[in-house]
């Protein structure tokens, strides 16, 4: 195929202990939307970093327009017409849109011209942007626009998009797809990385499926079902979630117009959040990242104190209690960030078990650490939650993401909480571990506790939740039984319509 835009031939890249890419080959035609499909850890990110010049392959070669192509650094890739939009944006919060765009360009025009160009290009592709606004003040969707416009200003021939929709509302996804189709029609090729099968079916012309760093299949997504592609990706049969009965008990946790301003100058303030969480209930809270998820977790874990009367557990006002007291009365939490928030990276598993469990599990006596009890409890977490580690004295950061997440969830679940709040329970976790974590949380609710799950993964929330609500700009939609909802309604909720399907709205 001499007319291919980019040809990839036998790329391999190894890191200590893992072969991230193993002899990967495929090609992309001009104007084609090509999906790169695979689970977390399948090697998608490493592959595109090699195309973008951030990582050097151990072996293999590439050709762009039939000419040898092996960028040493991103600026070389950009000069040759390859642009990339990252999953975690490479933006600078304290700088404005124009400054951010300049930084990503090789030959940036003068300031005034650039501002004009940003307005033109962003309008032309349906992605309106104000060049003078600070990134910190933009929503996640708008930040992605900055990244895309930055690429478009350099007239790319190939645009790499790494998991672009994981942070977008369904409506924003539609807008993005329109932009991408328009680009494709103009002859720009797009390498689209995702593990979301419906999107790939809707958008992409071809797909290359990666598993454990190898190309395991190629297909035309339109001719496949979501299920058949999932099987290519996972390499086995998909488990269907179990149906279950829902008979909630008495109210355990009650939030009454919880309002709290964020410490972070670029954070989201919580506004009038009201929840009644009952025994046996799993409440799923969806929404796009940066809409108050972190703040809600901090407000519930006790890391932030709120005004009296706003938070009650079993009828007792706990608004003024700190984390330790909240744990003592039965409200536990597992934050999103495993390393650095839920666990201390350089501390051992035993110390990390002690970290949140010393109150309820009585792992100390008048301040002195009961080391045997602490080690026993750590061992219990490791055994019951199948945490793979050489030993309990290993440091937290030495565990893989999935194992550490199992440890963190296990640590909280085994303390038999009255209410457990979890933010992003399975983010970046492999499928098997994710299934185990979801099951553990369901089991906890079945035992009579209440569970509040905050997540950006709608599929996960639909699978786990009895009731469902959405956080949008710090406000919570009215919780509704999950079984009654459809995708359109969820999309409206995520866009900020708080009373979808509620009669008095």
């Amino acid at each position: 195929m001499s007319d291919a835009l980019l040809e990839i031939n036998g790329l391999s890249k190894g890191y200590p202990g893992v072969q991230a890419n193993d002899n990967v080959s495929f090609s992309i035609q001009p104007g084609e939307i090509h999906a790169l499909l695979g689970e977390n850890g399948a090697g998608k990110s490493t592959l595109v970093k090699m195309i973008y010049g951030l990582v050097r392959p151990d072996s293999g070669d590439m050709a762009l327009h039939g000419v040898d192509y092996m960028p040493h650094k991103p600026s070389e890739a950009r000069n040759l017409g390859v642009g990339m939009v990252f999953q975690h944006f490479s933006l600078f919060e304290a700088m404005n849109v124009a400054e951010n765009i300049t930084l990503g360009m090789e030959n940036a025009p003068p300031r005034t011209d650039l501002a004009q160009k940003i307005r033109e290009v962003s309008a032309a592709y349906g992605l309106p942007l104000d060049p003078d606004r600070l990134i910190g003040d933009l929503s996640v969707g708008e930040r992605q626009r900055v990244e895309i416009v930055r690429c478009l200003l350099q007239n790319p021939k190939l645009l790499i998009m790494d998991e672009p929709t994981s942070v977008l509302t369904p409506q924003e996804v539609e807008t993005l797809f329109k932009t991408l189709r328009k680009l494709s029609a103009e002859g720009v090729a797009i390498l689209y990385i995702s593990h979301k099968l419906d999107e790939i079916k809707a958008l992409c012309d071809h797909a290359t499926v990666l598993r454990h760093g190898k190309v395991v299949a190629t297909c035309v997504p339109r001719e496949e079902t979501a299920r058949s592609m999932a099987e290519m990706m996972i390499g086995g049969e998909l488990a269907v979630p179990k149906l279950r009965a829902f008979n909630p008990g008495k109210t355990l946790l009650e939030l009454d117009n919880l309002t709290l301003s964020s410490y972070d100058p670029f954070g989201t303030n919580l506004a009038k959040i009201s929840i009644k969480l009952r025994a046996g209930e799993v409440l799923g809270i969806g929404g796009v990242a940066g809409n108050g998820q972190d703040e809600l977790l901090l407000a519930l874990s006790g890391e932030r104190i709120s005004d009296s009367g706003m938070i009650r557990l079993n009828g007792v006002d706990i608004s003024g209690f700190g984390p330790t007291t909240r744990r003592a009365v039965g409200l536990l939490a597992a934050p999103e960030e495993r390393l650095g928030h839920a666990a201390a990276p350089d501390m051992s598993l035993t110390e990390n078990a002690f970290l949140s469990a010393h109150v309820r599990k009585k792992l100390q006596k008048s301040g002195f650490i009961a080391r045997e009890k602490r080690d026993d409890f750590t061992q219990q977490i490791v055994t019951e939650f199948d945490v793979r580690t050489p030993g309990i004295s290993n440091v937290a950061k030495s565990l893989s993401g999935g194992n550490l997440q199992k440890f963190v969830i296990g640590r909280e679940v085994l303390q038999a909480p009255t209410v457990l709040v979890v933010n992003q329970p399975t983010w970046g976790v492999d499928a098997a571990a994710a299934a185990a974590i979801r099951q553990a949380l369901r089991d906890l609710a079945a035992s009579g506790a209440a569970v509040l799950v905050i997540s950006q993964d709608l599929d996960e929330l639909m699978e786990m939740s009895d009731t469902f609500a959405v956080l949008a700009e710090g406000r919570l939609s009215t919780p509704r039984p999950a079984a009654e909802l459809n995708v359109e309604e969820i999309g409206l909720m995520m866009g900020g319509d708080l009373h979808v399907g509620v009669a008095h709205a």
Binding site: P74, R78, S90, A108, Y263, P265
Partner: protein
């Protein structure tokens, strides 16, 4: 008490002279911090600059060579810090402290044979005609060239940071080094450059002390000036122009208390000597108190260790 001997114009002039070494060191440290690096070794780099500048000036009889040597010595010491923190990923606070302790010792060692000597005098820059104006002439146009140089340097740094692309890149590195790296900027190299620049400025500030302000070499003569420069960067909220305000405020307090001591107003000289340090603390407290604003102004990656994962 007789305050009539306090001539406000003369006070203002000596204020500027007292402020200049701190201003020089602070403007260098500002650039370092804007790139996301906290170098607490300013005091050490200043004193190395003071002795290097002094020694080379005396030996070569050229103040120019002295100033050049001071810049090179400051930058050289700074690059040790840079190598440790940027390549060997050592803790910036500890390494900065080590730099100060090491610099103070090394300067004392090098300066053994220079105590009590007089340096060659540095050229003054009296601006013709203007310098003959009453009051204003003395106040604005009759300084040594380093005073004008320090103001020009502040302007240059402001222009660099806010108007040039290289400055934008440097700020980006200080704001979010991972993002800057993923855009393909060489974080370590950019920071090394900033660190060397900061060292050169601190060295120059030290040389100003030993060659122009005092002018003599004595052990430990910086007496905390490097630390005050660090405080003034915080005071200035990392904005170049405000450094001038901070440095001159400090210079003013220093000169005022020195003059009060000379007047003998009945307060022990020791208490008056405390005031510059106390004022620095108060200023630091006032500027840091608004946490929200402080976190907006400080470079977001300040003091964090950067290690490229790929």
């Amino acid at each position: 008490m007789d305050f009539s001997s306090l001539n406000p114009v003369a006070l203002a002039v000596s204020l500027i002279v007292a402020a200049t070494p701190i201003l020089l060191a602070a403007v260098g440290e500002l650039v370092v911090e804007k790139s996301g690096v906290l170098n607490l070794g300013v005091e050490g780099m200043m004193i190395i600059g003071a002795i290097a500048g002094f020694a080379v000036s005396v030996d070569s009889a050229s103040p120019w060579l002295g100033l050049l040597a001071a810049m090179l010595a400051g930058a050289g010491l700074a690059l040790i810090f840079g190598f440790l923190t940027q390549v060997l990923l050592s803790n910036q606070v500890a390494t900065g402290l080590a730099l100060t302790l090491f610099g103070l010792g090394l300067a004392a060692l090098l300066g053994q044979s220079y105590t009590g000597m007089k340096p060659p005098s540095s050229p003054r820059l009296d601006i013709p005609v203007l310098s003959d104006l009453p009051v204003l002439g003395e106040l604005l146009f009759r300084h040594d060239f380093m005073v004008y140089g320090s103001i020009a340097l502040v302007f240059g740094v402001w222009y660099f940071l806010n108007r040039s692309r290289a400055g934008l890149v440097l700020r980006a590195v200080g704001e979010n080094h991972d993002a800057a790296h993923s855009l393909g900027y060489n974080v370590v190299l950019i920071r090394m450059g900033a660190i060397a620049f900061g060292g050169a400025c601190a060295g120059l500030g030290g040389a100003y002390l030993s060659l122009i302000r005092v002018p003599q070499w004595s052990e430990g003569m910086t007496a905390g000036a490097g630390w005050i420069a660090l405080a003034i960067v915080v005071f200035a909220s990392w904005k170049p122009w405000r450094l001038i305000l901070g440095a001159y405020l400090f210079g003013g307090v220093t000169i005022l208390q020195l003059n009060l001591q000379a007047l003998g107003i009945g307060i022990s000289a020791a208490y008056l000597s405390m005031t510059p340090y106390l004022i620095t603390i108060i200023v630091l407290v006032i500027m840091s108190a608004d946490r929200r604003r402080a976190s907006m102004n400080a470079p977001a990656s300040l003091g964090k260790i950067f290690h490229a994962s790929h």
